[in-house]
Structures are given as structure tokens and as C-alpha cells.
Symmetry: C2
Subunit: 389 residues, 2 copies
Amino acid sequence: MDDFVFRNPTKIIFGRGAEAQVGAEAKAFASKVLIHYGGGSVKKSGLFDRVVASLKSAGVACVELGGVAPNPRLALVHEGIALCRKEKVGLVLALGGGSAIDSSKAIAMGVPYAGEVWDFFAGKAELKEALPVATILTIPAAGSEASTASVITNEEGMLKRGFNSELIYPRFSILNPELAFTLPKEQAANGVADIMSHLMERYFTNSRPVELTDRLIEATLRTVIDCAPRVLAKSDDYDAWAELMWSGTIAHNNLLNAGRVGDWGSHDLEHELSAAYDIAHGAGLAVVFPAWMKFAYKHDLARFAQIASRVWGVDNAFMDLERAALTGIERLEGFWQYLGLKVRLSGLGIGAERFGEMADKLSSGGTRQVGNFVKVGKAEALAIYALAL
Amino acid sequence: MDDFVFRNPTKIIFGRGAEAQVGAEAKAFASKVLIHYGGGSVKKSGLFDRVVASLKSAGVACVELGGVAPNPRLALVHEGIALCRKEKVGLVLALGGGSAIDSSKAIAMGVPYAGEVWDFFAGKAELKEALPVATILTIPAAGSEASTASVITNEEGMLKRGFNSELIYPRFSILNPELAFTLPKEQAANGVADIMSHLMERYFTNSRPVELTDRLIEATLRTVIDCAPRVLAKSDDYDAWAELMWSGTIAHNNLLNAGRVGDWGSHDLEHELSAAYDIAHGAGLAVVFPAWMKFAYKHDLARFAQIASRVWGVDNAFMDLERAALTGIERLEGFWQYLGLKVRLSGLGIGAERFGEMADKLSSGGTRQVGNFVKVGKAEALAIYALAL
């Protein structure tokens, strides 16, 4: 087990109707909040009004900024920063999924910073302070509701970059599985691919031994595999959504990488894909991750056989590690296809045309490598994208 | 899944030599700390001196109070409170296992409270504030290093009572598996029984569905079952101690009961046993838990069969739930015996003489029930103690 430091102070308020508690919770941090959200679904569903009512009854004022898109953009972050400064907002409250939350975190980072907020994502500045952030989660997927991460896309060059800091852990996150009932099937499936990818990025490690965290990750994967088809079959299955929503948080709250270094190459490979084609992150991962696995499995056959055996029930795995490893990858692809996900670029209508450009950006022109389990530079990225065709 | 609120802000600093960081961490909370510990082992091992040196180099002064016994006593807590007040201590730093940590938490509760600190344990006062607490763990067992709990024994009537509050979460806990290398085998085995009991108390629940947390608990149990014999066989097996130490924290940091109500009857039954005979908590649990299981298994055969199958590898469990449940209990007993633990009161030299007194205290003279999975009053307590003979 690697040495580690772990702390996750996010307060989770989980259950039916939990959004009614937002006013009381927000009041501890601010007298005015920015409600930051995506499209109109939070208004149509009545969630927005319930949140405003709860804030009002707690004596908390609010301003709003909607319009967050998947792969949230820097321009809207700038708008949010200006609004928070003008309105003297003390807390940024995200209503939605990973995009709304990541955009809220970036706004919170930018408000007290005199320079350009992109500096943090470009690795040119160190974050010293941030406004507090809170979330009401509507999409189990990104895990941003209890994570240190924010991923923002800079329209200038369509650069998609992630940033991590303990300062952007949400102060509280409200998780009500009912809020996911109205999620379109496709978005739900994308979320499942995102959650499973967060788990697998952590799983594929060169750190060892990592026995407890291996088992915890496998436990979470098996739960997701059991519950995902149930929410797709019955969109108001509270029990299954509850397991899935909590799994999504656990998958990304840093507990499951305590003492181990995850890979994260697939996330970088996907970021280039979704930056180039503006597809949903989860949809991109469903294509990239199996391709990465086919590229990487020989690096540690035993680890791939272990996940195949323990998570996918591949039998007789010890007798032929390679066959087990490959069967595990097939089962993952089969499961994702069963959920309606595409596991090949061709299924997304994407060809090889921009592979060179994507591999170039990923590797900063061939000078940078991503990934920890296996190193991925320009040549490796091209090989993996080709495996995804 | 039950509605829940979860927050655990304890900062974990894990790894070889991690105690060297105590000065830098403590400085954020206080300019003077109380170092609170048990016997002389922390001095003999050099740990105490290393801690003082780290504090000194960070400019943090310290006073010390040793002498914490297993089943920590109220009298020493009083002494610690007086010392902290006199010396204007700002942080209570526990060096040791659950007893030193629980005693430190009680001291921290008492310092700012004008009344008698036992009021909190007796349920007669509400905790409003406490000094910050931090820990350097030397015994993987109690999980108190990241828990809301403290258990103290009042010599007057030998009442052993637990208290829970978010205000006594340690601010930071330093976990260095090397510090467990010198632990006597018996204490190590007792710790394993304590960790496994914390996991099983949470496992036996009437809440449902609890799919993810079931699997996470099973994952942690399997890790403990794999690692415990290894540390007993080779006391300096860092890897196995690391898994065991982190499992002990995870077992009791409230993550694994998010969305479920654990039982905790066995803990109450054991508290009476160790209050009466002053045995180690883990040794008592190794006797009480199997007896409780034999008493309780018919309440939910499926759950007992599930743990037997998934944790103990009992085969063909679906075809005969009762046989599987009983086989699971036998395997637990066998495993604990293999670790050198006694699983019967007779093995501890304890007979039925004081059952009436213990059951009376447990049930407050027949007026109180403990446990959530099954209710245990006076008659049930007598039956369970009899099963433990």
C-alpha cells in the first residue's frame, strides 16, 4: 500500500425529498447563493422552485445562472465569476450533474482570484482560496459531488483540462435518488459508464499490495452492474437508483484510491475525444475504456484476470490468465451494449480523421505522456484510438 | 436504503514514519497539547520521544498523562480534564489504541463543560463543544481514530457506557502500520475480533435494500480474514498490517453504516461482560458475538446465509439457508480459534455466576432493550450469555 493522506469533509445528505434541507444547510455558509444549473429540466421538474423556496424560508437570497452544457465551458465560468462578484454571492450551489458541479467549482475558484481562472487548469497558478460550493445532484455519474476535481473546456483551442484541490470539495451535497427518475435512458447509461470508469481507473494500478481497495472497488462495480439494468428497465426504481447514486459518489470521493495510484489515461484519451466531437463524457468512456484495456492488459495479466473473475464471474480464470482477461473485457463491452451504449467509435459516427490531432493534443505534440498503469504518449494514443474504431 | 447524513472530516495520514508529521499537523490547532497514552510501551518503543521531538520542532509545547487502562476509567478522564484546564491545552493527542483515544475524547468533551463529564455518557447532557482531538494509532482494533464514539467506564458501579458525537471526530489521525509490529499476539488477535465485530454489527440490519454497503462490509471482512493470520505469523509484515489497520478504520468510520441501522446488541452485551470481569473488549466480543449469532440467526436466515456464502465461502448456501447460516457461524468461531482467541466464556475462566447481574445492568433492571436487528432485554441477554458458556 502506498503512503497516503485522505480527507473528505463533504457532508452527504441522502434520501427522499432531501433537497428541502438546502436552505438550512446553505445558511451556515452564506446569506446569498448562486444557483448554477444546465438546461430547463430543473425548472420543469419543479426542483428549482423547491430549492428557491427552501432558501427563502431560511432567509437566504439567491441569484441564478443556467446554461451549463455537457463539457462545461470557460465562457460561462467567466460569466458566473462576474455575477458572484457583482452580487456578493457567498456560496455556489450546483443543481445538476457533473457539468453543473464542475462549472460551479470553477466559478468558486475564480471569484477570489485576481487573475484568469484558466491559469489553474493550465497549471500556471496555485489555488489558495475558493468560495464554498454545494450541490444538489440529479445525475449519478461524475462523482463531482464529493470530489476534489473540476474539468472545464476552454473554447479557445477546445482544450479540456482537469484540476484538483481539496479547496473545492463541496461543503455539502444533497443526494435524492428521486431526482434521477426523469433522466433520459441514454444519459443514465452514460452515467453508468462514467461511474464504472472511475472505479476501473482506480483499479488498474501498479501499487501493491492493494487488497482492501481492490475488494472495495470490486464491491462497488458489482453493485453498479446489478443496479444499472434495473433503473433502465424501471426509471422510478428508488432502491436501484439509491444504490447507483451512492456508488457514483463512493467511486470518486478518493476513498477507493487511498494507498494506490490509479491510471487515468482513459480519461485523458476521452477528454480529447469529447473536446473534438463534443460527445458526452460517459459515451466517450464507453468507447475508449475497452480499447485502452485491449492495449494495456498484457502489462498485468493477473490484475485483468482478477477483475474478470471477481467482477464478471469469469470461471477457471487461474488456468489461463490471458483468456480470462480478454473474456472480462468482452463481458464489460457486452454489458455496456446491453445498456444501449456504443462501444466503438463507428457507433458514434466517428472515424479516424482526427486521430492525429487528438493524439497530438493529448501528448502536447509528442512531448507528454498520460496514464500511470501504462504510459500513453502520441504513438500509444494513436494505437488505442485505432482499437476503438 | 435508509435516508442518512454522512460526514467524516478526519484527516488520515497513513504510512511509514508518518508520526514525524505530528508537529506540523498539531500546530494548526494548538500551541500546547496533552499527550495521552496507556502503559510504558510508547516510551519503550521510542514513539513518545519521536512525537515530542516533532512537536518541539514545530514549536508546539506538550504535557503528558499516561496510565490509560483497557476499559478506560472516568477517574483518569477527570485528571486529564483538570490538567488540560490548568495547562491551557488546546489539543488532546492520543498515543495508542482505542482506550487512549476514547479517554482523550472524553477529556476533550469535559474541558469546556462546567458540569460532570459523565453526564454525556449517562445521556443527561448534550455536547455543545469539545477540544480538538488527534491520534497516533498503535493498535488496529477499535476504529476510534476516525469515529464519533467514546466508551468510558465509571468505576462507581462499574458502568461502561458509550457516547457518540461528530464533535469528537479526531481532527487528524496518523496511521503507521510499523507501530503495530511490537503488539503482543494476544492483543493483535483481540483487535481483529473487534474490527470484525464492528463490521458484523453493521451487517446485521433490518434496513433494506443495502446492497452496496453489504458488499463493502463483506470486502472488508474478507481482507481482515486474509491479513490477520499473516500478522500473527510474522509480526513485521508491513503489507498485512497496513491492510488490517486501514480495514479497522474503514470498519468504524460510519461509511459502512450509511443508509442502514446496525445491531450493536453484542457490543452492549460485551460491555457488561468486560465491566464485570475487566477483560479486553475484543476478547469479550469473540465470545459474545458467536453466541448472539446463534440466538439471532433465525430472524433473517437469508442474511446469515449470504454472509456465510460471500465471506466464508460456504457452498450450496441457497439450497439450505439454515445449514449455511450455522456453517458460517462455525467458520467464524473456527477462524477466531485459529487466531488464538477463546470463543467460549469457559475459555476465559468465566462461569454463569454473574449473568443475572450483567443482564440486569444491561436492561436497567428489565426496563431497557438493546440491539436493533433483534431486541435484547433481560431474558434475551440471559439466553445469549448462556449460549456463550
